[in-house]
């Protein structure tokens, strides 16, 4: 309850004198652990006990230096909760939560079979541990797996645990009992399987245990399952006997005379309730109902969100959560107007799930490694929407910003890379665009799409209406150059084959490096060829 713990620090480098059970030391209840347990209890709709107490559970084992574990045997922190788990048919089943109790974690013990010695890592000893006990409401290995996954995403969402089973942040003891179909449900004898540390193992262990118990019960009418504690062999996927009920140790529970009674004020509970992070099911409903996102988008966002950072002591994870990132985009973060501007949730979802996540995936990065802030992506989306850049350029920018992380705003990056779209006199004056850029530079185009080397057709470019570098706008001159390069096409077009002009449009598009809008190019080219209009 006293020292910081990470599964990845070297053994015995982070040990408080209390956790090492040095004589003369006294425990101290970590108020953050209590707050996180209250948070969890609220999320699981439990009755929080205004008064709970701590007890000592005694046993002699090398992972327990003091000879006892401080836990809440007689009066747990919370009771009577519910967790709804999803069924394959889309319905939800309530699973009753019996209680939530706070405990001390034990040290980590690893056995070296070669030297026949045990190694004890005290780093974990004394860390706050929250035990969530469910009632016997789960009816299959699949339901147990759904329960663990739902609980895991809940714990992550509220920040009370990273739920990481490989690191041991979430560990599971499973009780399995079966009964004959003609007997009362729950009338079987339970066997407890200790320390299962993945959903896969949980499912496998339950499956094997059901198999073992049914063989036993069907072998003869008198056969009975013996109550016992069992382990799980990760190699054979079978459970094995650890000890029988008769061998069960007497833990000699005793009220802890140091920590004694924990009293919670209603005020403390209320403050935590008011600051409770959004729960996964509330989040799903909100994304679906308020933002009207497609089921696919919602699932993608929630899946990524569940992998977000869980900060120490449940601190606000900020933008590391995909949903929070999405919310900030919709709210208008990075918008040029001071008050912020709402963005279309569907457009945002499209940019996030397809472009950003797509690029991350192709670069083999997770959302946690995303280096583009919500403000940057927001501005980028605005620029595309306002046609300061084209959609193609937007995608290109995302790729560029992921490979070259920067705090620069996208308009500056676009400007530095000469990626701002050609303006058109028909579109609104660019000065109304968020960050009206003034560019007076030449770009090189190439007639070959695959050859980026400079060509001989220098084209002055400017997106500014007030630009004085050129009398004609750069898109028009680009089109003029292309038309000049394909006289036979122009001739064919003039004969009435309008479709051949696509060849010229394609050349312009290639040479514009994505800065031009295809529809607009077509208009300009047609205008120049047929002389019907001036752009």
């Amino acid at each position: 309850m006293t020292s910081e713990y990470s599964a990845h620090t070297p053994p015995n480098t982070n040990v408080s004198s209390f956790d090492a059970a040095l004589p003369g030391t006294l425990p101290k209840l970590n108020p953050f652990c209590v707050d996180l347990a209250i948070r969890t209890a609220l999320a699981l709709q439990c009755d929080i006990q205004r008064q709970s107490s701590f007890d000592r559970k005694h046993y002699f084992y090398s992972d327990l230096p003091s000879g006892y574990q401080i836990t809440q045997q007689y009066a747990p922190l919370a009771k009577n909760g519910t967790l709804f788990i999803p069924q394959p048919d889309g319905t939800q089943t309530p699973i009753r939560i019996k209680q939530i109790q706070l405990e001390q974690d034990t040290a980590k013990s690893t056995f070296n079979p070669r030297t026949q010695t045990s190694h004890i890592d005290l780093n974990r000893a004394g860390t706050g541990l929250m035990e969530i006990v469910s009632e016997a409401d789960l009816r299959s290995p699949e339901e147990a797996a759904a329960y663990i996954r739902t609980l895991q995403s809940l714990l992550r969402a509220i920040g009370s645990s990273d739920g990481n089973m490989e690191d041991g942040s979430l560990r599971c003891d499973v009780n399995v009992s079966i009964n004959r179909t003609d007997a009362q449900p729950g009338s079987g004898t339970r066997c407890e399987i200790k320390n299962l540390n993945s959903v896969k193992y949980i499912t496998a262990a339950i499956t094997h245990e059901i198999h073992r118990q049914s063989i036993l019960l069907t072998s003869s009418p008198e056969a009975r399952v013996e109550q016992e504690t069992r382990g799980f062999d990760e190699m054979t996927f079978e459970t094995f006997r650890l000890r029988s009920k008769e061998d069960a140790p007497d833990y000699r529970y005793m009220p802890d005379p140091n920590l004694g009674v924990l009293r919670l004020s209603q005020e403390r509970i209320d403050v935590i309730r008011d600051a409770l992070p959004e729960l996964p099911w509330t989040m799903r409903a909100r994304l679906k109902e308020i933002y009207a996102l497609s089921d696919r988008d919602v699932e993608v966002l929630l899946n990524i969100d569940s992998g977000r950072d869980v900060r120490y002591d449940g601190e606000d994870p900020g933008e590391s959560g995909a949903v929070k990132y999405f919310d900030r985009l919709v709210e208008g973060v990075g918008s040029s107007s001071d008050s912020g501007r709402q963005r279309d949730p569907k457009v945002v979802a499209n940019w996030m799930t397809h472009e950003l996540l797509g690029q991350l995936a192709s670069q083999k990065k997770t959302f946690k490694q995303n280096t583009i802030s919500a403000a940057q992506l927001g501005e980028l989306i605005d620029m595309v929407q306002q046609r300061a850049i084209t959609g193609t350029t937007g995608k290109h920018l995302i790729r560029h910003m992921l490979t070259n992380p920067t705090n620069d705003p996208p308009h500056k990056i676009a400007q530095d890379l000469d990626l701002l779209a050609f303006s058109s006199s028909q579109s609104s004056p660019p000065s109304s665009a968020p960050h009206a850029p003034i560019i007076n530079s030449t770009i090189s185009t190439s007639t070959s799409t695959s050859d980026p080397s400079p060509s001989s057709i220098p084209i002055p470019a400017s997106t500014s209406a007030s630009a004085s570098a050129s009398d004609t706008d750069p898109l028009t001159s680009l089109c003029e150059n292309a038309i000049a390069a394909f006289p036979s096409v122009v001739a064919a077009a003039k004969k009435g084959n309008k479709n051949v002009l696509n060849k010229i449009v394609g050349a312009v598009m290639r040479e514009s490096r994505g800065r031009a809008d295809a529809k607009r190019v077509k208009e300009v080219v047609e205008g120049l060829v047929y002389g019907s209009g001036e752009s």
Partner: protein
């Protein structure tokens, strides 16, 4: 004998401090071999602290209180050579106040015992010498026997002890010194090797009440590292009512009747049949003198007292069995290698080898008793029952004291308190209520050491039961967490037909009224002047 730092404050120049520090150690080296009060003598600090309210004051520390510069063995072979990586909060406060920690004192193993017989450092001898000059070896009492003997022999000015069920007051009584077990939670237990957390108190022994008060004043402070440390709020609330009570006393007293207005309770249950006449007489004389000085003496009853002793032994042993579970011989302390062929298939079997070898007999006895009291079958009848009795004992005290108990400051408990009559903060106490209690500290004077039974192994069952009965006088205040001070009865009050050895008078008050208890203790002390 001894020295009073109130009457002769030590010079504070560095050189003289060094000299004095060396002189004190000289005295210890001369006197300790025959007494065995010190188990470790700390060399003087190279740069003695020349300032602070306790500058130059020599303090001995019981060997179950952690000191960073010397072993802390609790007189147990189990912790032979164990040097803690930290100072106990009490030791730290003493050092900061400029005190000179002269050494560690002998005690019963882990504080379990009432003679100072159960120590792997060997027994401590009571240094008290009466005028008749007959050489007689007596026990100093336990478990803080080394601390009491060190003060009594003039080897230090002040000693820290711990008191779980009388471990300061009993040796203070046997050795003829002053010993204070403060209110539970006032002095931090951080760094005090736990015997029974809910009862353990750090306390102070000295020749005079004034020295105890000055030291207690330094040590009584809130400590975040002790979860049972009384909160600043509890401290200020109780000191407010105590101050109010003291100023009312000051207003009512006059030169001829200095104790006018003080209500002194005499609990009838504290005068059991085992009490020797040599004890009753001086205590009666003290009470009579207090009455002559204007105090109202009120006979009172604490009906749950008779159950207190068994409650204490169940609770203390249960907590001890839990607290001593950590001594497995692996991480620190003594380790016994399993002999070849021994069954170490279970971790506990391995531990048992070291625990059997290095725990003394009394410790093993209490661990076994406590372990049994906590087993599933016995828990309700023993542990829970003992807890209920403990509550009855507390209720008894809260009923008879005029001041309220402020140890718990939770609104929940405070509202429970307001329902009990003790919380009435009326200026005139109910006729049955008293300010303090007075009773003998011990049922007898210091027992003789039998030359052949100096080692614990030879002690008979009968002696054990005797020492348990002794605890009847000291244990209730421990169960209720109350301040209790043992002051030697003035020599002129001693029974002429008695053995001439000291008798302690206990002054007990409501939680937090330590100052009131010490004021009355000073009055008793001055009766001899």
């Amino acid at each position: 004998m001894g020295s009073c730092l109130v009457s002769r404050r030590l010079v504070t120049s560095r050189r003289s401090l060094t000299t004095t520090a060396d002189q004190w150690r000289q005295i210890i080296h001369e006197r300790n071999p025959g007494i065995n009060a010190f188990v470790h003598i700390t060399p003087p600090a190279k740069v003695p602290s020349g300032h602070g309210p306790l500058a130059g004051t020599t303090v001995a520390v019981k060997d179950n209180i952690a000191t960073v510069d010397s072993d802390t063995t609790c007189s147990s072979k189990m912790l032979d050579g164990f040097q803690p990586p930290f100072d106990a909060t009490a030791v730290k406060l003493l050092r900061e106040a400029g005190a000179d920690i002269v050494g560690k004192t002998n005690c019963d193993e882990f504080g379990m015992g009432s003679l100072n017989a159960y120590s792997y450092h060997g027994p401590t001898v009571n240094p008290y010498q009466d005028s008749s000059d007959k050489l007689e070896r007596r026990w100093p009492g336990g478990s803080s026997g080394g601390s009491a003997a060190a003060v009594a022999a003039g080897m230090c000015q002040v000693a820290l002890g711990t008191d779980t069920g009388g471990s300061i007051r009993l040796p203070a009584s046997y050795c003829g010194v002053v010993g204070l077990k403060p209110s539970y939670g006032l002095i931090s237990r951080w760094g005090v090797v736990a015997y029974a957390d809910s009862l353990d108190c750090v306390g102070v022994l000295a020749s005079k009440v004034g020295d105890v008060r000055r030291t207690f004043g330094i040590l009584s402070t809130y400590d975040l590292r002790d979860p049972t440390s009384a909160t600043p709020e509890a401290r200020s609330r109780s000191s407010k009512v105590v101050k109010k009570r003291l100023s009312r006393w000051d207003a009512e007293r006059d030169a001829t009747k200095p104790l006018r207005g003080l209500r002194v309770g005499i609990p009838q249950e504290y005068f059991p049949s085992e009490l020797s006449p040599a004890v009753i007489k001086p205590v009666r004389n003290v009470i009579k003198s207090l009455q002559e000085q204007g105090a109202s003496v009120v006979p009172i009853s604490l009906p749950s007292t008779s159950y207190a002793l068994s409650s204490y032994y169940v609770l203390a042993s249960a907590e001890a069995s839990s607290n001593l579970a950590r001594y497995d011989g692996i991480q620190y302390g003594s380790h016994a290698r399993p002999p070849p062929g021994s069954d170490v298939s279970k971790t506990s079997r391995n531990y048992a080898i070291s625990r059997t070898k290095y725990f003394g007999p009394e410790v093993q006895k209490r661990i076994l008793l406590g372990t049994y009291a906590l087993t599933a079958d016995a828990f309700d009848n023993y542990f829970l029952q003992a807890q209920r009795v403990r509550q009855l004992v507390k209720n008894d005290f809260n009923k008879i004291f005029s001041l309220p108990n402020f140890y718990f400051t939770d609104p929940l408990v405070a509202s429970e308190q307001s329902r009990s009559p003790s919380s009435s903060s009326s200026s005139s106490a109910a006729p049955t209520q008293v300010d303090i209690l007075i009773h003998p500290s011990a049922i007898r004077t210091a027992p003789k050491m039998q030359p052949t039974t100096a080692t614990s192994e030879h002690k008979s069952e009968a002696t054990d039961t005797d020492s348990y009965v002794q605890d009847v006088l000291t244990v209730p205040a421990s169960l209720a967490g109350l301040p209790a001070l043992s002051v030697p009865a003035p020599k002129r009050f001693l029974d002429r037909e008695g053995d001439g050895w000291p008798i302690g008078v206990s002054v007990v008050g409501q939680w937090g009224s330590d100052e009131l208890v010490m004021r009355v203790g000073e009055v008793v002390e001055q009766l001899g002047a």
